[in-house]
Symmetry: C2
Subunit: 209 residues, 2 copies
Amino acid sequence: MSHTSGARQAQKQQTRRALLDAALHLLEGQNLSSLGVREVTREAGMSPAGFYRHFRDMADLGVTLVEESLASLHGMVLAVLAGPDEAEELIDRAVDVVAGHVREHRAHIRFLARERHGGVRPVREAIGAELARFADEVAAALADQPASAGWSAEDLLMLAELYVEHLVSTATAFLDVPEDRPELDLRISRVARRQLRLISVGRRHWRDS
Amino acid sequence: MSHTSGARQAQKQQTRRALLDAALHLLEGQNLSSLGVREVTREAGMSPAGFYRHFRDMADLGVTLVEESLASLHGMVLAVLAGPDEAEELIDRAVDVVAGHVREHRAHIRFLARERHGGVRPVREAIGAELARFADEVAAALADQPASAGWSAEDLLMLAELYVEHLVSTATAFLDVPEDRPELDLRISRVARRQLRLISVGRRHWRDS
DNA sequence: TCATTCAGTAAACAACTGTTTGCTGACTTT
DNA sequence: AAAGTCAGCAAACAGTTGTTTACTGAATGA
């Protein structure tokens, strides 16, 4: 077994990163299914053949990007859940965290939105599976809240899925804001907060049909 | 001005349709940004040059597909809204209509889901603009319901956007069901109904914070 | 020090791409 | 019946593509 750190491995990781960054950059303007090996290596400043020292093919690189993107997204979900239990505060915090996350990881989030239903099967499935995992985590967190007393596991999951779906759609809404109209961010935040509040009202009155 | 019907125009429309169908078929497995002119004409059984008698380029064909797809989707939205006012019935009806629509227009709906955040700007924008129009229509329909008494226009729109977003995500959930697991449709319907019910509970208790 | 490993390269492969050109022949108009 | 229109075609254009091959030379391990 070879060491993972050495001048050798370090160099390799560095050009691997260059490939991933080049791909991520190019993917801001196109889909993974139209991204070419030569295109990426050209952008990364290396020869086409070098690509195959790191990835089997483009779908392989895509799956790696999914893992990266979802790792940061996962951090965000945990950050939201770790907040206060009180509904109002939690909602404000959640929307702010999403807005900040999109601002700081634009390319990754765009990639996820674009490839979630995109034309590359393994990538699509990796995203779907991970979003399902998020929903499970959210459901588990909800179960710990006092407001969930008397809720069935099934209903908790359906609520969690509603939250995750809302999170995703809010994130993509932020994404679609043109660079020159940053004031739209405020409207998105306001609407998202109200929608979450409405859902939380529904949650509070769920039992008395 | 030439007649729109004549043996001439009829033939033209027919091969135009063949091109659109061929594209729609190929787009089940890839993104518009990777779809080639030659690929489409080959599938449609004609020569590459013929393509340009009908479309300026692929993005142009894509926008045409958006119009088609959204026309049928629009019909669906109207069908949902035209139902009974009573919440419970309306929810059941809405979910059934979505399920049926996805079953009957799979390729169109998949295309919309795939290109909504896809890499072809004009297509993306056409979809976004039309979804916004749907939200406006839903908001207008909501305004006519007695349950909306005392609601501001802004809140009605935020509720309508929540509904539209939920409709879209339900439709894509149906899409992702593998051909050999049709029993999953039932779970999706059940969850979607409960989520809509929860939202409608929130709506009913919205005013008393 | 010397042999080995291996990330990155240059070159070549056949196959593919979008688009333009001039043409043909069936339809349409006069 | 003659003249005109125009959808679809074959061929050619200059590129591009993914992938394999044999190679180089610096980092590694003995």
